[in-house]
């Protein structure tokens, strides 16, 4: 006789053994979400730390020659295209203020009189993208704001 008690016991066992691997998977997620980039400039969560690691200084000034081309409004936070033009730059650092680890891209060994770099970024929220360019020992800076649409920021 397949009693109600036995049925509930089997149901409990079935739930336990089916949910246990899912719980383990969840713990694995938690372990991997703490991944830290081995490079200090990419692991930094403060822009000052990024600049200190990447460019050796935090002393920056506005530079009108640096041009950042980004969309004013991006429909997706997963793909935000950008193009940066920095005449005479030897090194370029691109940071996204909204991200928990702000450094997006570091361009080094630039061997062109006018540096033009292109990329696609992921952003956590709406916010500023700033380009720092090292030229002749000075660090120039330019910033553009990007508004994200098409997603609910409170759920991101």
């Amino acid at each position: 006789m397949y009693s109600k008690r036995r049925f509930l016991k089997h149901l409990g066992c079935w739930f336990t053994f089916s949910l246990f691997p899912a719980c383990l998977h969840r713990f694995a997620y938690a372990a991997d979400s703490n991944h830290v980039d081995p490079r200090p400039e990419f692991a930094a969560d403060q822009i000052a730390t990024v600049l200190e690691s990447a460019l050796g200084s935090t002393d920056t000034a506005d530079d009108a020659t640096i041009r950042i081309e980004v969309p004013l409004v991006s429909g997706s936070k997963e793909v935000v295209p950008f193009r940066i033009t920095a005449p005479g730059a030897e090194k370029i650092v691109v940071v996204a203020h909204p991200n928990s680890h702000p450094l997006l891209m570091l361009v080094d060994n630039i061997d062109e009189p006018v540096a033009v770099v292109t990329g696609r970024a992921r952003l956590d929220h709406s916010g500023d993208i700033t380009c720092y360019a090292l030229k002749n020992g000075q660090i120039g800076r330019a910033t553009r704001r990007i508004e994200l649409s098409g997603h609910w920021e409170s759920f991101s």
Binding site: H25, A28, Y29, D32, S33, H35, D37, R39, F42, E78, V79, V80, P81, A96, N99, H101, L103, L104, M105, L106, V107, D108, N109, I110, D111, E112, P113, V114, A115, V116, V117, T118, G119, R120, A121, R122, L123
Partner: protein, 98 residues
Amino acid sequence: MTYPTSLKLAKYQSGVEALCEILHPMYAGDSKQSEVNYITRVVFRLNDRVKAEFLLGKYISRNPVVGTVFNNVESGDSVQVSWQDIAGNRGQATATVK
């Protein structure tokens, strides 16, 4: 594991823009996926001379497109791009200026 890499050249003002597209998942290890694997380095060369070295973080979108502009190029010049991800996978592509 191999990821397809393409290199396209297009005229940009007085020079040539090289756009490299890599079909790479760029797993950042956040709450959405457990795996961590993203491209860390992309190097552009013109006739075997390094022209720009991109160091990338995990906030670059998947299937990344990175590019740079070469100002002084001539027909027949060779553009090479090579990349490496955090798992040690590598890839490269070559194109010739027409």
